[in-house]
């Protein structure tokens, strides 16, 4: 450039850009608990809604919470000081009555979904594989934070969902199964369990520890490096080929991360940003927050860049399905990886006829 100073045209562009940025910033929703969340040092996302490119729109519609913010549930036994975040009640506090029996059933389904809800499951996973400490652990998509966030609009299916419908999604996508019909005892039990865990939590508030932590997006993501991370840190438990590991008589202990027995393409864990957040906070098991952010991103992309059962919303065309449901850099569905276009060789979604 021979000119020393920018010309009028350039100034005009700069001014308009700054103006637009200010306008967008001003119109972003504000949350009462944002300050509390910042002081807790975490920013929670809603990865249990997002799947392959859907930007969660739910955050835009929550009402201003009137009551106390997180960590101060009035009178609840789970009250913890603000620094520690929400603490769900102990399982020993489950009452010994009809309701308590339903809560226990929900806890059992959550812990061993294979044994307690087999008619709705289509793969080898358990709820507790990705929702650690039986759905109680902050930053591991705890149930108590999800429960108080519904009913809510979800861009994933473009309407307001009840919590029950949200749970149906877990079975349809993450468990690669068939969703229990509304009113089914499985859904009632899981809702009861979630409600029990959420005792005292404020409704309509975005609670710290909800979902998986949101990592800052890296400059680039390196699947080849992710493969190295996998070999060093993950294969010990999840197998050389992501197939998981079982006891001698076939009980799955370490879940498969890809392939026909894992979550399908519609599941939230198939989104690289979700997986990266989960992995960063929780993996290797017992060594959460030991991986660097970059390693978490890279290994998440490696895991999510493998074939798995088809998206239940498959239109018949991989390209079309990607456009409709996976149009994001965070999804490798419909992308060529290692010479193969993912989604073209996916086993059909849903439970296999012969198991």
């Amino acid at each position: 450039m021979s000119e020393q100073r920018p010309d009028l045209q350039t100034w005009a562009v700069v001014v308009v850009f700054i103006g637009l940025a200010g306008f967008v910033g001003y119109t972003l929703p504000r949350h009462e608990t944002f300050a509390a969340r910042e002081s807790a040092g975490e920013t929670a996302t809603q990865p249990d809604e997002a799947a392959g490119g859907d930007v969660p729109a739910d955050q835009e519609t929550s009402a201003e919470p009137a009551g106390p913010s997180v960590g101060d549930p009035a009178g609840g036994p789970s009250a913890a000081n603000e620094d520690e975040g929400f603490a769900p009640p102990d399982l020993a506090d489950i009452p010994d009555d009809e309701f308590g029996r339903m809560v226990r059933l929900g806890a059992e389904i959550f812990r061993d979904t294979q044994a307690n809800a087999p008619e709705f499951v289509g793969n080898s996973l358990q709820c507790a594989n990705c929702h650690l400490d039986a759905g109680r652990l902050a930053d591991s998509a705890p149930l108590w934070a999800a429960y108080v966030a519904y009913p809510a609009y979800r861009s994933k299916n473009d309407h307001v969902n009840t919590f029950a419908e949200r749970l149906q999604g877990c079975f349809r996508y993450s468990m690669n199964g068939t969703p229990p019909p509304l009113g089914d005892q499985v859904l009632i039990a899981l809702q009861s369990y979630s409600y029990f865990l959420a005792k005292g939590a404020p409704t309509g508030a975005d609670m710290p520890g909800r979902g998986y932590p949101e990592l800052a997006e890296p400059k680039n993501i390196d699947r080849a490096h992710g493969q190295e991370v996998y070999a060093q840190k993950c294969a010990l438990c999840h197998g050389e080929n992501g197939e998981g590991q079982t006891t001698a008589d076939g009980r799955v202990v370490f879940p498969p991360l890809w392939g026909p027995d894992s979550f399908n393409w519609g599941a939230g864990m198939g989104s690289i940003s979700n997986a990266a957040g989960f992995i960063k906070a929780n993996m290797p098991l017992s060594q959460g927050n030991s991986l660097s952010d970059q390693d978490a991103w890279d290994v998440a992309a490696f895991v999510d860049g493998h074939e798995r059962p088809q998206d239940p919303r498959f239109t018949g065309s991989v390209e079309e399905t990607r456009k409709k449901f996976h149009d994001s850099a965070m999804s490798l569905y419909g992308i060529e990886v290692d010479g193969v276009t993912l989604g073209e060789n996916s086993p059909p979604s849903g439970p296999r006829k012969t198991r």
């Binding site: 650690l132 400490d133 039986a134 438990c237 006891t247 008589d249 370490f254 017992s286 060594q287």
Partner: protein, 254 residues
């Protein structure tokens, strides 16, 4: 062409002659060598099945390099002596046992008794004894005092749920929901000597044992209190042992 000899159509000269001479020499040495090595191979093939017997031999008699008989501490069927902290080996994954023997020899697992023994075993011998014990069937050895209900309940809680306030998963999340073990790296705990389990947890905590993949157990043990160590150990010791899987039996056994 020169005049041909009776046997050959032409007489080899120069390089061709050297080649033919080499081939003749080879024929004269290779054939007997092949025969001899074939005979030797047959002898080895007959002798090799004795390797399994070698495992049993070492277990009952020790070996020529000073390794004592394993059964003296671990039992003839690998049931161990739980009250003395000599672990049960029956049904453990052979690759796991081999790794432990290597660790003893290398010093990544510290034990005054096992170190010289492991060093006295050759790699083949380690494989042999591991294979022997890995497929051994043994009833649970009694002799350890069972802990009280409160301790057992605390141990059961740790086994199933862990203590996530300290980022400790339930033991069963790696060792199997019934403590039956998973693969070569997560050994069975059900029916193992409680004294032994407690000793190992303390060993990881104190830095006396450092052969755990990814340092998983070192990290976990360092977060356990003494009471938690006692509870988890007592709980697993109280469980019945699993029948060795290779025999086709499932579930809780003897």
């Amino acid at each position: 062409m020169t005049e041909s000899a009776v046997q050959t159509p032409w007489r080899a000269e120069g390089p061709a002659l050297a080649c033919r001479e080499a081939r003749t020499r080879a024929r004269r040495t290779v054939k007997p060598a092949l025969t001899a090595s074939s005979l030797l191979a047959i002898c080895f093939a007959i002798a090799l099945p004795a390797q399994a017997a070698d495992g049993q031999k070492i277990v009952t008699e020790g070996n020529a390099d000073g390794a004592p008989a394993c059964f003296a501490c671990h039992g003839e069927h690998g049931e161990g002596q739980p009250q003395l902290g000599y672990p049960r080996l029956a049904g453990l994954d052979p690759a796991y046992i081999v790794h432990q023997l290597q660790s003893f020899a290398e010093g990544t697992r510290t034990d005054d008794t096992m170190q010289p023994i492991a060093e006295a075993l050759s790699p083949d011998e380690r494989e042999a004894v591991a294979s022997f014990y890995g497929s051994a069937q043994a009833a649970k050895a009694e002799g350890e005092e069972q802990a009280n209900d409160e301790v057992l309940a605390a141990g059961a809680m740790l086994a199933e749920r862990g203590d996530w306030s300290k980022q400790i998963p339930g033991c069963g999340q790696c060792h199997g929901p019934a403590g039956e073990g998973v693969g070569a790296n997560f050994p069975a705990l059900a029916g193992q000597s409680g004294t032994y389990i407690a000793n190992q947890l303390h060993a990881w905590k104190d830095g006396q044992r450092a052969n755990d993949p990814l340092g998983l157990m070192t990290g976990i043990a360092s977060k356990l209190s003494d009471d938690e160590i006692a509870a988890a150990s007592a709980y697993y010791a109280s469980l019945p042992v699993f029948a060795t899987p290779s025999e086709g039996q499932k579930g809780e056994g003897q």
